[in-house]
């Protein structure tokens, strides 16, 4: 069994079918590429073959390159290994493109078309782009595009060079720089594919038999080719390229190497003939792959994210697919949970104290579906079906038959205990009860349950329909079935789970709060707030700490601070933070929701600049810290908390720590997460920075023993705990 097979029909069309054994989606391996190469050679040499069609034996064409293979190229051969590997792919695709024609006369080639039954991503599009004509099935579910940039690399098998030459730099930009995916019709309109037809294989065969020699010559191989939109030193192209660097630089904050390298490959490649451009593309691709950031991004955003979604942490108990879900509390969170569950086909009972509140919670789903219909992402039928799955009621009896309950009522242990009891009185004895608390210890809430082993925390992030992470929290007595249930539920609603143990603020909030606090603490010290916010963004944080607290609301911050202070007593370390936070609350500046916070907002709620009144109360210090000092404080505030969570066993797996940080609060994705960042930095250097920060700013920056130990042994997190190795 090989990944590609070939069969020549009576008309002389050799059909090469891509069908990787044992996989639901085709991905390209180096062995597969070698097989394809051999078949192309054979077909080109065979006089009986008039033309070639490349298609898939599966529902889709291909999902791309096997990223594990790419990671392997680097591990085995270093830069030379990557470059040689990529050049060997270029060689095969270029052979397909030239199809045996004489490079001077451009005559004598055999037509080669591709027939895409469905999704074609990454090399699944780069390969068709090398053929002479692309036929895609009229399949609105198919996704066509080059998403490589999303995992920290860029299309490196000629996709960058071909697409820019086909569309021009400006038109290719959204596909290359943003990884934009399209359905077949949009892909045709954009010029990614040539035809959308009912039967792409038949159409491709017919085209191959009718094709003339001129149809096989790519514009860039023909005489007098000019790049659409102009090359970099053409007057129009000049402006495009000046703007492109500025926009990419601003959007990536200078921290993502892939976008920079991609742009250089485009710029340098545009000035030379096609084959030189491919070499340039390969050199920049190699450069990106050798960058530790791309390794970290592929690891967290692709390999480990997928592993967690596929149940890397799931206990070995039978399938726990959720059939009927009860959601207690139809507020913002409950309504969101009901929506994502109903969208996944789960029957939902949405309960609140009054029918009006329950209805309002259901109306939230209606609103989201209306928006989706407006954007043509959903139909009226889908909306009707989804709404039919949600029963909004005040009646707990409706929970009968629910196999999972998610409680999302007010953050008050008394209220939570009451609804727990009321629900457990109705639901089956083997049902699992989950609480969506973000602050209260699971083990304490479990006391209200008659079945603590079936009690678990499922912590959603707001807004539920947008945030990809779900944090599952095991209480002291939580059993494996409850964990499996929570994981199966998260898989059903197509989100990414992490499983952590019960401790104050669990994992995500435990790391976010010190980040926010460190920003506020600097305000109290008189650090320029603009510097604080920009320092965070320049590290690749999506939101500065002050904007983040504005978004989550300042009164919530006050509430958490008061509760924490009550719990910790004299050991409470954040008095300086509270001076600012409480003062802001006293001013009535509660953040975005009050249209006033660390930032000023206009009447429409649009964020303006940082609030100028801040400086009057907390005057600017004469000596401002360096950018790096501010960045180190903001980054170590988060990462040291992640290390402590690992040390304390709250976090069981650094993969979850990294994936959770990126998806949960946008932690510098370029770094692969807090542990990825510390590995890039190196434990020794990290400890040295911590020592300096602790001396200057306090014990919260003291390096945890684990980090010190790693520095002493010159160890790395992924070296010690990587790929499922248990925390020590």
């Amino acid at each position: 069994m090989t990944d590609f097979t070939m069969k020549t029909d009576a008309d002389g069309v050799a059909v090469i079918t891509w069908d990787v054994p044992g996989k639901s989606m085709n991905v390209l391996s180096m062995d597969g590429a070698a097989t394809l190469n051999g078949l192309i050679d054979e077909a080109l040499a065979d006089d009986a073959v008039k033309g070639i069609v490349i298609t898939s034996g599966k529902r889709d064409f291909a999902a791309g390159m096997d990223l594990n293979v790419i990671a392997g190229m680097k591990d085995q051969g270093g830069a030379q290994g990557v470059f040689d590997g990529v050049m060997s792919l270029h060689h095969i695709l270029r052979k397909i493109e030239r199809a045996g024609m004489d490079p001077k006369t451009l005559k004598g080639g055999k037509p080669i078309a591709s027939a895409l039954p469905g999704t074609a991503l990454g090399i699944g599009l780069e390969l068709p782009l090398a053929t002479h004509r692309i036929f895609a099935a009229d399949n609105p579910k198919a996704r066509i595009g080059l998403p490589e940039i999303m995992v920290g690399i860029f299309p490196g098998a000629g996709g960058t060079t071909r697409l820019v030459r086909k569309l021009g730099a400006m038109a290719a930009a959204p596909f290359l720089l943003e990884g934009k995916l399209s359905d077949p019709k949009k892909a045709k309109a954009a010029g990614l594919v040539d035809e959308v037809v009912d039967d792409p294989l038949a159409a491709a065969k017919a085209w191959v038999l009718a094709a003339k020699e001129a149809d096989l010559v790519k514009p860039w191989d023909a005489k007098g080719y000019k790049m659409p939109g102009g090359e970099p030193y053409h007057p129009a192209g000049f402006m495009t390229f000046v703007g492109a660097s500025a926009m990419v630089h601003a959007r990536t904050m200078g921290v993502y190497p892939a976008a920079k390298a991609l742009l250089s490959a485009v710029y340098e490649g545009a000035q030379v003939p096609f084959d030189q451009a491919l070499k340039i593309e390969a050199r920049w691709f190699t450069n990106v792959l050798m960058n530790p950031s791309s390794t970290a991004m592929i690891r967290s955003l692709f390999i480990n994210k997928e592993a967690l979604e596929k149940g890397a942490k799931r206990p070995g108990v039978p399938d726990q697919t959720v059939r009927k879900l009860g959601v207690l509390g139809a507020g913002m969170m409950g309504a969101g949970i009901a929506y994502v569950s109903a969208r996944a086909g789960i029957e939902v009972v949405l309960i609140d104290a009054t029918q009006a509140s329950a209805d309002k919670g259901k109306a939230y789903s209606e609103g989201l579906m209306d928006k989706a219909i407006g954007r043509r992402k959903a139909t009226e039928e889908q909306k009707a079906e989804l709404l039919a799955r949600i029963t909004a009621t005040t009646d707990y009896a409706a929970l009968e038959g629910c196999d999972l309950i998610v409680e999302a009522v007010f953050e008050d242990p008394g209220v939570k205990a009451e609804v727990t009891k009321k629900a457990e009185a109705v639901i089956p004895s083997d049902a699992i009860f989950a609480t969506n608390t973000s602050t209260l210890p699971i083990s304490d809430l479990a006391r209200a349950s008659a079945r603590p082993s079936q009690f678990i925390g499922i912590h959603f992030f707001s807004p539920v329909d947008k945030m990809a992470l779900v944090e599952i929290i095991k209480g002291r007595e939580t059993g494996p079935v409850a964990v499996a249930k929570a994981l199966d539920f998260v898989r059903q609603i197509r989100k990414t789970p992490i499983v952590v143990n019960d401790a104050r603020f669990f994992y995500a909030n435990r790391c976010i709060i010190p980040y926010i606090n460190e920003g506020i603490r600097m305000v109290a010290e008189g650090v320029n707030p603009t510097l604080i916010e920009n320092a965070a963004k320049l590290m690749g944080m999506p939101l500065g700490p002050l904007q983040l607290v504005d978004e989550t609301s300042i009164d919530l911050g006050v509430k958490i601070a008061k509760a924490t202070r009550a719990a910790m007593g004299d050991a409470y370390p954040d008095g300086a933070v509270d001076d600012v936070l409480f003062w802001m609350a006293d001013q009535g500046r509660m953040g975005r929701k009050s249209n006033s916070g660390f930032y000023a907002y206009d009447d429409a709620g649009k964020r303006q600049g940082l609030w100028e009144g801040l400086e009057a109360r907390f005057p600017r210090a004469a000596d401002q810290p360096s950018l790096q000092d501010v960045q180190h404080r903001l980054m170590f505030a988060q990462t040291l908390e992640a290390v402590r969570a690992l040390e304390e066993g709250v976090l069981e797996d650094i993969r979850e720590g990294d994936v959770g940080a990126i998806l949960g609060w946008g932690f510098a994705p370029w770094s692969g997460g807090p542990f990825g960042w510390l590995d890039i930095l190196g434990a020794e250097r990290a400890v040295a920075i911590c020592d300096r920060l602790a001396k200057a700013h306090g014990d919260r920056f003291k390096a945890p023993a684990l980090l010190r130990d790693m520095a002493a042994r010159r160890d790395s997190f992924y070296g010690r705990f990587g790929a499922g190795k248990k925390a020590a």
């Binding site: 000046v242 703007g243 500025a246 630089h249 601003a250 320029n528």
Partner: protein, 403 residues
């Protein structure tokens, strides 16, 4: 070491650098050659009288390409044994030509040079020669490239200059230039541009707007706001480099930035022996020269560090300088210079500058050296300093001293 003296300084009037500008019909070659002829005629430079013609020019493509310096020599009445060197240090090219010539003389490589430059901005568009720093992503991002107008606005933001201050400086430039022309203060330097029949094409700077008022200036829209804030958003690149800035104040516009014009200038520099051999009287000694590289993003702050350097190198203090010429590329450049050295505006750009009269890139450095010398002579002062900000983050300066 040999001293280098200025024997003559001449310039053409500056024409509007547009298709309806008076010099638009004149080629870069013809303008250069006619100015060289004027220098030759004014100083009787028969035969192999000078070692070289060093010609500053920024946009060296098309008619300004192919070593325009040598072409200009061949097109002029100068002896063909005089070669020709085109150089480009952006806005300071004309000054660098003078400095290079002076330093060669000081070092004993030749007794005399004609140094200057030309830029026909209406004929060969600025930027049409390309620039890797702007388009090559590997450098554009490494150097945090932004266009000069954004840099000028960054200076204003960083050093706290307001639109009102910039407009006031622009107005003063117009007033001073108008008065200088009225009183004939440029008479020594101006060489009218004549055609091949001896008919006058232009004999006066035509870019000036002497009737300008503060109200007129206040009405002008900021020129770099859109490219900064919208497409492609250069302010964000500035923020990456200067994260303490919350926003960029866009205070510059067509009225407080230098004008796009056509023009040329030339300076005759020689040793003492050269003057004696040709019966010429030296007007000033070139006392010191300097150049420096600076932060390329804020780009235009070069006049400050290069002035610090030239003073230090020559053992002088700011108080030793009687008059200054600081090229008015943008108002904030001059404001920053005066702020940094606490010098009185009365001593700076006494006869106006590039905001009023225009900035023919390759020529301006030589123009302001000539203007400075004329004014030192008019006021009977001794020492003057000329300096320019330069694209890609550089600065250049020259100190001259009357003899």
């Amino acid at each position: 070491m040999t001293d280098a003296f200025i024997y003559d300084a001449a310039r053409t009037p500056r024409g509007k650098g547009r298709s309806d500008g008076s010099l638009h019909e004149v080629t870069s070659l013809a303008l250069s050659a006619r100015l060289l002829n004027a220098i030759k005629a004014r100083n009787n430079l028969e035969g192999h009288a000078v070692e070289d013609v060093i010609w500053g020019n920024v946009t060296q493509v098309k008619e300004q390409g192919g070593c325009l310096a040598r072409s200009a020599v061949l097109a002029s009445d100068l002896d063909e044994r005089i070669p020709g060197l085109s150089i480009n240090r952006f806005c300071a090219s004309g000054m660098e030509a003078v400095n290079l010539a002076a330093n060669q003389i000081k070092g004993g490589a030749g007794h005399a040079y004609i140094a200057g430059g030309v830029e026909m901005m209406g004929r060969v568009a600025m930027g049409s020669d390309g620039a890797a720093i702007a388009v090559d992503p590997s450098l554009a991002m490494k150097s945090y490239f932004v266009p000069q107008g954004i840099s000028a606005d960054i200076i204003a933001t960083e050093y706290g200059f307001t639109r009102e201050q910039a407009d006031a400086l622009a107005l003063e430039s117009q007033k001073r230039a108008a008065q200088a022309w009225e009183e004939g203060r440029f008479a020594k330097s101006i060489v009218p541009v004549l055609d091949q029949n001896g008919l006058t094409i232009l004999d006066r700077d035509e870019y000036m707007r002497p009737g300008t008022t503060l109200d007129d200036l206040a009405k002008l829209k900021p020129a770099f706001k859109e490219m900064g804030e919208m497409m492609p958003g250069f302010d964000k690149v500035a923020m990456l480099k200067y994260p303490h800035l919350s926003h960029i104040e866009h205070i510059h516009h067509a009225g407080n930035s230098s004008g796009i014009v056509d023009g040329a200038a030339a300076v005759l520099i020689g040793s003492k022996e050269f003057g004696e051999a040709h019966g010429l009287k030296p007007r000033a000694r070139i006392r010191a020269t300097a150049k420096i590289g600076t932060d390329p993003t804020i780009m235009l702050t070069g006049p400050v560090p290069v002035t610090e350097k030239i003073l230090k190198d020559s053992g002088m203090a700011i108080g030793d300088i009687d008059l200054f010429e600081v090229n008015e590329a943008f108002a904030s450049v001059v404001l920053r210079f005066m702020q940094a050295f606490e010098v009185d505006h009365a001593k700076v750009n006494v006869n106006g500058g590039a905001i009023a009269m225009g900035h023919p890139l390759g020529a301006t450095g030589a123009i302001i050296i000539g203007t400075l010398l004329d004014e030192l002579e008019r006021q009977d002062k001794q020492v003057g300093l000329a300096t320019l900000c330069i694209a890609s983050g550089m600065g250049a300066a020259t100190i001259i001293e009357r003899v």
